[in-house]
């Protein structure tokens, strides 16, 4: 019943007129960003983060979480109307969403996506509420060895489950960690890695600079290259009759939607997995368990509902480890974590004890964000259809301006703007060569924690490396990390022996 009291307090915070306005503003902005082809939640949060200085810290986090939510809803809009996923998380939505739109059922597909997102969001937020406090309680027992082992585990999930080239994943993790050490040494306070003797490097490389560079500038460059001609927008009309029909259709899909929500939530918690694989898995599962799997890919409403529930559930799932353990479950939550640290709120179990108002306010604002997103989404569909006709050159120009000014604002140094441009171009090249971006951002955000916990442990244990294996929790995290790390090696040797046998 303690939970009930916390939630009541939380709703008192999140339902205050100011925070309600913030949530509506956030989901609307998120919906637009998500609806733009190429821009997803991570780009939206990266570009908008500097603008959130305008509100107090706790409201800024609520605003960012609302943008995150809105962008997850919005991704489906361009998947359906343009046939181009609004973000990688909405790739699976194009499989059936696009055929539906071409059959003249764009309105129905949009309703299905919005309702499915709402169901996925709601189920996962309830799961989130139930899991958050117990997980934070467990995490209270964590000392530096556990912290280090947990961060290590987060990185090894990329190696074991990430699905990208293992070597390239390792490079990106190490690059992010190495970049996080730029500045002053945490323990001795001495300067290190001051490249070209530039004084700007003394304060380190902010996660925001890397995020705006890679996900703002880099993404725009990538989109300029891949978008040759303006895509055609399928018109969508929405009437109350269609809405009623859509809701009746969706009412038959409870099984698919609840499967999607659970898959999404649990897959979303893993740093390496997240919303995109969760959506693909939910789509696959819906297809396999369906009575007529052949209709998938040809405009089956179930094929829209499954991935949309899963990707929204995954975005909530990835918030859970971020808030309770301080380990983000996705690049977007890594940015949220960085933002919270910037505002002096350190995520992790202590937050639940020291700032209960903030934590439960944020959790309850996820409920209101969900409601706001589904209503704004359905109400503004004509506006989205109009906005998607916006010429791409205008969007790119404005985003680049926001990147420049937004990169300058937090530190007020031109040094950071140059770094953003550099990371943008570098990130663009790396991305084209299939280097994954998510581990890089996560590593830069988690790097200081990893190094600090590693060195603190060793200093406390007089240099005994086995300290990490002497505590049961940290030992089990290390063991799991070892398994994840060896997974690709195992696959490789098996493929070798298969090749020999053949």
């Amino acid at each position: 019943m303690e939970l009930f009291g916390h939630m009541m307090d939380g709703f008192a915070t999140s339902l205050s007129p100011f925070n309600l306005m913030i949530v509506i503003l956030g989901v609307t902005a998120g919906l637009f960003i998500g609806a733009m082809p190429g821009l997803g939640s991570v780009n939206g949060v990266a570009i908008v983060l500097p603008l959130t200085f305008i509100v107090p810290p706790s409201s800024a986090i609520i605003l960012l979480a609302a943008i995150y939510y809105g962008a997850m809803y919005g991704g489906a809009i361009s998947s359906i109307l343009l046939g181009i996923p609004g973000a990688s998380t909405a790739v699976a939505t194009t499989f059936d969403g696009r055929p539906m739109a071409q059959q003249g059922k764009a309105g129905l597909a949009l309703i299905a996506a919005a309702v499915a997102s709402f169901v996925g969001g709601t189920i996962s937020v309830i799961l989130f509420t139930l899991f958050a406090a117990p997980l934070a309680d467990i995490a209270l027992a964590f000392g530096p060895p556990e912290e280090f082992a947990l961060v290590l585990m987060a990185f090894t999930t990329f190696v074991g489950l990430g699905g990208d080239d293992v070597l390239k994943t390792i490079i990106m993790i190490c690059l992010g960690l190495a970049l996080s050490t730029v500045g002053l040494d945490l323990i001795s306070g001495q300067p290190r890695l001051i490249f070209f003797d530039q004084p700007g490097f003394y304060s380190g490389i902010s996660f925001l600079v890397l995020a705006i560079g890679a996900y703002g500038v880099g993404e725009i460059l990538y989109t300029i290259e891949t978008s040759k001609s303006a895509p055609s927008v399928t018109p969508a009309r929405l009437t109350f009759r269609e809405l009623g029909a859509g809701l009746r259709e969706m009412n038959k899909l409870w099984r698919t939607m609840s499967f999607g929500s659970f898959i999404g939530f649990f897959v979303g918690m893993l740093p390496a997995a997240g919303a995109t694989p969760a959506a693909l898995m939910a789509y696959g599962l819906a297809k396999v368990t369906s009575k007529n799997p052949d209709s998938f890919g040809k405009g089956n409403i179930e094929g829209v509902a499954a991935p949309e529930t899963a990707n929204n559930a995954a975005s909530t799932g990835s918030l859970l480890p971020m808030l309770t353990l301080g380990i983000p479950g996705s690049p977007t939550t890594a940015l949220l974590l960085g933002g919270m640290v910037m505002w002096g709120l350190v995520p992790g179990p202590m937050l639940f004890i020291e700032q209960p108002d903030f934590v439960w306010g944020l959790i309850s604002s996820l409920y209101t964000a969900n409601f706001a997103a589904v209503i704004v989404n359905l109400a503004l569909i004509p506006v989205f259809v109009w906005a998607l006709r916006m010429p791409f050159t205008v969007l790119c120009a404005l985003v680049l301006i926001l990147c420049i000014v937004g990169g300058f604002a937090p530190s007020q140094k031109m040094h950071d703007v140059w770094l953003i441009a550099g990371f943008g171009v570098g990130g663009y090249f790396l991305r084209k060569a299939d280097y994954p971006m998510a581990p890089l951002v996560l590593a830069l955000v988690l790097g200081p924690l990893m190094e600090k916990s590693f060195r603190q442990t060793l200093i406390a244990e007089q240099g005994n490396v086995f300290a990490f294996l002497e505590r049961p929790l940290s030992a089990s995290f290390i063991a799991i990390s070892a398994v994840f790390f060896l997974l690709p090696l195992l696959k490789y040797t098996r493929s070798l022996s298969c090749a020999k046998a053949a």
Binding site: L51, F53, I54, D165, L167, I170, I171, C174, L175, L177, A178, T181, V182, D185, I187, S188, R192, L193, F195, V217, I220, L221, I224, E225, T226, K228, P391, T393, V394, C396, A397, L398, L400, I401, I404, V405, F408, A409, Q412, M414, V417, W418, A421, G424, V425, F429, L430, K432, A433, Y435, E451, F454, R455, T457, L458, I459, E461, Q462, G463, N464
Partner: protein, 163 residues
């Protein structure tokens, strides 16, 4: 694609070596006094792993085990990308010199009118509207002063009005 893959791997190796050289300023080995690694150890050994991994990619690519084909750059759109990158760098270089409120409108005019081939009405709306928004959002509301460069004197009356 294959050449680009190798070039990028080689570039990462060079960068790792540069990082490693930089990290040696602080002790990179075990610190016997306090226990645990020295201040340079983390960046040094991480860069070393990066160096080895990039080397492995290069070797793999040279042994012909990469399954890449086709062009790394899309020849049709490469020109656009390069032009935008140049415009971006020129704009950033101009910012501290002629000021944000000259550099950014110039960028917008170039991008929307010349690069995007849109009409003057749209171009002027955005070229005038965007700096106004930035001024009121960052300078007036957040009290974050954007670089003004040469144009600093023109802003003194505005500061007097809003602060």
């Amino acid at each position: 694609m294959l050449i680009a893959d190798r070039l990028i791997a080689a570039a990462i190796m060079a960068m790792s070596a540069y990082f490693m050289w930089h990290a040696t300023v602080l002790p990179i080995g075990w610190n016997g006094m306090t226990g645990g690694p020295g201040g340079g150890a983390f960046p040094f050994w991480l860069s070393a792993i990066m160096f080895v991994a990039a080397g492995a990619i290069l070797v793999r690519s040279l042994r012909g085990k990469s399954d890449y084909a086709g062009d790394f750059f899309d020849p049709e759109t490469l020109r656009s990308v390069v032009m935008v990158i140049i415009a971006l760098f020129v704009t950033i270089a101009l910012m501290p010199w002629v000021g944000t409120y000259i550099a950014l409108p110039l960028f917008l005019i170039w991008y929307i009118k010349i690069f995007g081939r849109h009409g003057w009405v749209l171009t002027l709306c955005l070229t005038i509207g965007t700096p106004l928004f930035l001024f009121f959002f960052f300078e007036v509301t957040l009290k974050i002063l954007l670089p003004k460069g040469l144009t600093e004197p023109f802003f003194v009356p505005l500061y007097a009005m809003f602060f």
